[in-house]
Amino acid sequence: MAMVDEPLYPIAVLIDELKNDDIQLRLNSIRRLSTIARALGEERTRKELIPFLSENSDDDDEVLLAMAEELGVFIPFVGGIEYAHVLLPPLESLCTVEETCVREKALDSLCKIGSQMRETDLVDSFVPLVKRLAAGEWFAARVSACGIFHVAYQGCTDVLKTELRSTYSLLCQDDMPMVRRAAASNLGKFATTVESTYLIAEIMTMFDDLTKDDQDSVRLLAVEGCAALGKLLEPQDCVARILPVIVNFSQDKSWRVRYMVANQLYELCEAVGPDCTKTDLVPAYVRLLRDNEAEVRIAAAGKVTKFCRLLNPELAIQHILPCVKELSSDSSQHVRSALASVIMGMAPILGKDSTIEHLLPIFLSLLKDEFPDVRLNIISKLDQVNQVIGIDLLSQSLLPAIVELAEDRHWRVRLAIIEYVPLLASQLGIGFFDDKLGALCMQWLQDKVYSIREAAANNLKRLAEEFGPEWAMQHLVPQVLDMVNNPHYLHRMMVLRAISLMAPVMGSEITCSKFLPVVVEASKDRVPNIKFNVAKLLQSLIPIVDQSVVDKTIRQCLVDLSEDPDVDVRYFANQALNSIDGTTAAQS
């Protein structure tokens, strides 16, 4: 057989490599399946390429995954919607492989295709596919079947619908737990397509079976169904059928089931409405907040704000707040941490007075927690409280704790505080800031840990931006420049770092009058590190200051440095000199 023509050669290779031994080449070909399809034309794609793919579904998972994805958008390449059904066979065989991610991708693609198919095609080819999978010999096929019922069901005849419902019910009772799990997790999706008359009669029966399953793993997926089904049912049905299940689940023997309830409960509240929330779900939630398994308390504590949002403040104060107080001194640090990450959000819900009365002590105790994550979680949400209780109170009660944290043993905590200082500053205002935090900012600049010093320098820049150059001139610059005489070269280096960050904010005048003399002085430092940092700094100052200053002061200083005995100093000095020449050349 003759070789194919030269221009076709690349595509010919692409096609051949569909069956290459090297997985990378096969993958490459599969990813360009649309190119191959265009080269073959619509008809041959339908008659040759697609059957070819169906027959060769025993490839590596990666290849199959790519194939499943490509086929999902393949309708245009087989000739449009009326031929969409030809794509079903290869996807059907991909739905039966044992690798979950391949099956899920194939299901995605099937759903995409199914939702575009004409109703007659749906009945003729999609529904039989669902039935075949559901009757599959191996569990993988039956697991997959559960995920596409909702696509098949819409647009079916009544007879077929009845059949599909009973098939689904069989899947809910399958002897393999994997299949029951798939049925449980897809029940909500399927239920959205089922007519309301059958919802109560049939879907709820399946649901009830699943909630009584002896496998924990099935029951906990049924919990998810509660919220989905609850939203579909009429409120009174929801109260009658779903509520008892939720309440039961919240007292399930298995902590994993209770954990799921704790995660889902606020959604369920929306489904059952405020009255039942008050009478039934609040007690259930309170139980979960006091659960003896820490994992459950973590989940419950993390939802406390969302849950309170659904309640009126009185209820929240009466029922939830006592639990929150207990949780704030929980024995598990993870519980406290989860609580700390959301508790600030309760301030707007409870309002000013209750926040001051009830929440503030909790904030304070969490701010003093021995576990850094807990403290951090509180600090990072301070602004939410500020809006409610106002700056005065915040500063009186919380600030001492924050100041304490600013000197925390753990540098990560200090770092977090520094990052919030500009935010605090903007909220507290100039006057307040000067009193309490100004000194700290300077202290951080001399921290033992580099990250803190670096963050402190950055902080100065952000403060200068916040309060303006004049304020900075008064409150920051003198203190920073004083440090240039520090005996430790690392601290002297921080001065240079601070200058390089602040100079652009402060502007040309202050830079020339205040910073430049200090920098020039530093170029005579005995430590080479300082000197080459001076060179780098001078380079960064060039665009800020006037050309005359560059020529007069900076160039001379750099020329001196370029004759330094240290090779690194000379290198950076020369770099800076080059950049002066570069800018001059550009200007001229």
């Binding site: 290779v13 096609i15 080449l25 298995s254 902590w255």
Partner: protein, 514 residues
């Protein structure tokens, strides 16, 4: 809870079994040296009993399949059905693969042996077999599937070449490599030409052909490692066990038990941790762990102090407190230096329906009812004649040998190994006196004990507690004085549905039926 476990049932006693030799794999010829790497270190039947896996010290897993059932890898319904003909099970070699390789942990300067510690079969799916195998540190999930041998021909670029499927036909390797090389550089070209406004005619290009795959009828089993679960154990893994939910399994080392999801290999959850804050306070280690066969939230683990703990995963995330504790409270008549050492449980197994647990310590097999935590239902002496020799056994370290145990599928009998390649089968039905000693050889009944004495009731224990084997006169167990501590039968497995035992004597696998 009870169902198929007939231990507690009344009625007629089953007849003692008449054991016969069935098969041997890897039999040693006289004088042949046993290679260390060939010594079998794990045996396990799958749920249907159609397959048997062995692991060895060389890190290999060997699979055997049953030849007498209609269709070994057939339909699921066939596998689930267990209605077999009257013939005894016969197996043939199916395939083998290298599961683990020797490794070196550079951080801890530790060699990691390739020896397979345990094999557990997982759920069969899509006609393929799945199993977990573990060495001291790493668990692997294997899929073994019969693959049809395929040939690919009719290639666009050069039709004279016929590429064999690389995994099967090694003879075509050289050609394959060539093909890879020539094609390997091309993706760039493809991208270039396709992006250079290479326009395709609307009707397609008739010259292009898809590769033709010719499927032959020959199949060959191919093993592929699907997942590797690692970096979760500081100590040596002694057990792995699948959960009945089909999605999780546990792995146990000396101090911890971890829970894994089969599909997630990069995280596991610690569910039991017996490591004391100070290692000097360590008094007890985990020796074996197993999930309940049907209750997905129950598992049992045994300890070096001779206790078995049942834990309920529903209670809490970290199950430090057991829900039930089984200890033999009966104080041994004579305490000695060895009392604690020989109390260590080397293996536990749940009976099929999960009501009974069989445990093996150095000298005895004990059967426990999980509804009765006051003491074992019965105790069987495996090699009581060795008691005077404990001192010798301690000196040559044999006292630390870990014998496995197994139960028959009907729960009527139990078996465990001993020295001199002997193993013993006991009837556990109340009143049963069945006690058989077999030797792992072609003539298993050579040392058969014909007159087991009446079981002597131990006075202190509750009514059903039975102690057997102890009353036998020393020396009845064959040449008691000349027992050979180097030929020990540590590993054995009972067929799940039939009276058939597979046991390992060094590198040989012997199979018996009754």
């Amino acid at each position: 809870m009870n169902g198929g476990d007939e231990v507690g049932g009344s009625g007629e006693l089953p007849q003692p079994l008449d054991w016969r030799f069935s098969q041997v794999f890897g039999e040693r010829s006289a004088g042949e040296e046993v290679q260390e790497v060939d010594i079998i270190s794990a045996i396990e039947f799958d749920k249907s009993g159609d397959h048997l896996a062995t692991g060895d010290r060389g890190g290999r897993v060997v699979l055997f399949e049953r030849t007498d059932s209609k269709n070994a890898s057939g339909a699921r319904r066939d596998l689930e059905g267990t209605d077999y003909s009257l013939r005894h099970p016969e197996f043939r070699y199916k395939t083998e693969f290298q599961s683990h390789e020797p490794e070196f942990d550079y951080l801890k300067s530790l060699e990691i042996e390739e020896k397979i510690n345990k094999i557990r079969w997982s759920q069969t799916a899509n006609g393929a077999l799945f199993l977990l195998s573990t060495n001291d540190k790493t668990i692997k999930f294997w899929k073994v599937q019969d693959k049809k041998i395929k040939k690919i021909c009719d290639i666009n670029t050069d039709s004279s070449r016929t590429l064999g499927n690389g995994s099967v036909a090694s003879s075509s390797n050289s050609k394959t490599t060539n093909a890879c090389l020539t094609n390997g550089g091309l993706p760039d070209k493809v991208n270039n030409s396709l992006s250079n406004d290479f326009s395709l005619p609307p009707g397609g290009i008739p010259l292009l052909r898809l590769p033709v795959v010719i499927t032959t009828h020959e199949t060959s089993p191919v093993a592929r490692c699907r997942r590797v679960y690692t970096h979760a154990h500081d100590y040596h893994i002694n057990s792995i066990s699948n959960n009945s939910d089909g999605e999780t399994f546990i792995s146990a080392d000396d101090l911890r038990i971890n829970l894994w999801n089969l599909e997630i290999s990069n995280q596991s959850f610690n569910i039991v941790d017996v490591k004391p804050a100070n290692m000097e306070d360590l008094t007890e280690v985990i020796t074996s762990a197993e999930f309940h066969p049907t209750h997905c939230n129950t598992l049992a683990y045994s300890s070096s102090k001779g206790s078995i703990r049942l834990i309920d995963l529903r209670q809490s995330a970290l199950c430090d407190s057991h829900s039930k504790l089984f200890e033999d409270t009966e104080t041994p008549s004579s305490r000695s230096f060895f009392t604690e050492i020989i109390a260590s449980v080397s293996d536990i197994k749940f009976a099929k329906e999960g009501r009974y647990i069989l445990s093996r310590d150095y000298m005895t097999l004990k059967l426990w009812d999980i509804n009765m935590d006051s003491g074992p239902v019965s105790t069987f002496q495996v090699h009581e004649y060795l008691r005077p020799k404990l001192c010798d056994l301690y000196e040559n370290d044999s006292i630390f040998d870990k014998f496995e145990c197994c139960l028959s599928g009907d729960g009527l009998r139990v078996a465990s190994g001993s020295y001199s390649n002997l193993f013993r089968v006991f009837g556990v039905s109340p009143g049963s006196t069945e006690t058989t000693t077999l030797e792992a050889s072609k003539n298993p009944m050579r040392r058969q004990v014909t007159t087991p004495s009446r079981p002597s009731r131990s006075l202190s224990s509750i009514t059903r507690a039975v102690r057997r084997g102890a009353a036998e006169s020393p020396g009845v167990d064959g040449n008691a004085n000349s027992f050979d501590h180097t030929t020990k039968l540590l590993h054995l497995a009972w067929h799940p549905t039939e009276n058939s035992i597979a046991c390992a004597a060094a590198n040989s696998l012997y199979m018996y039926y009754a």
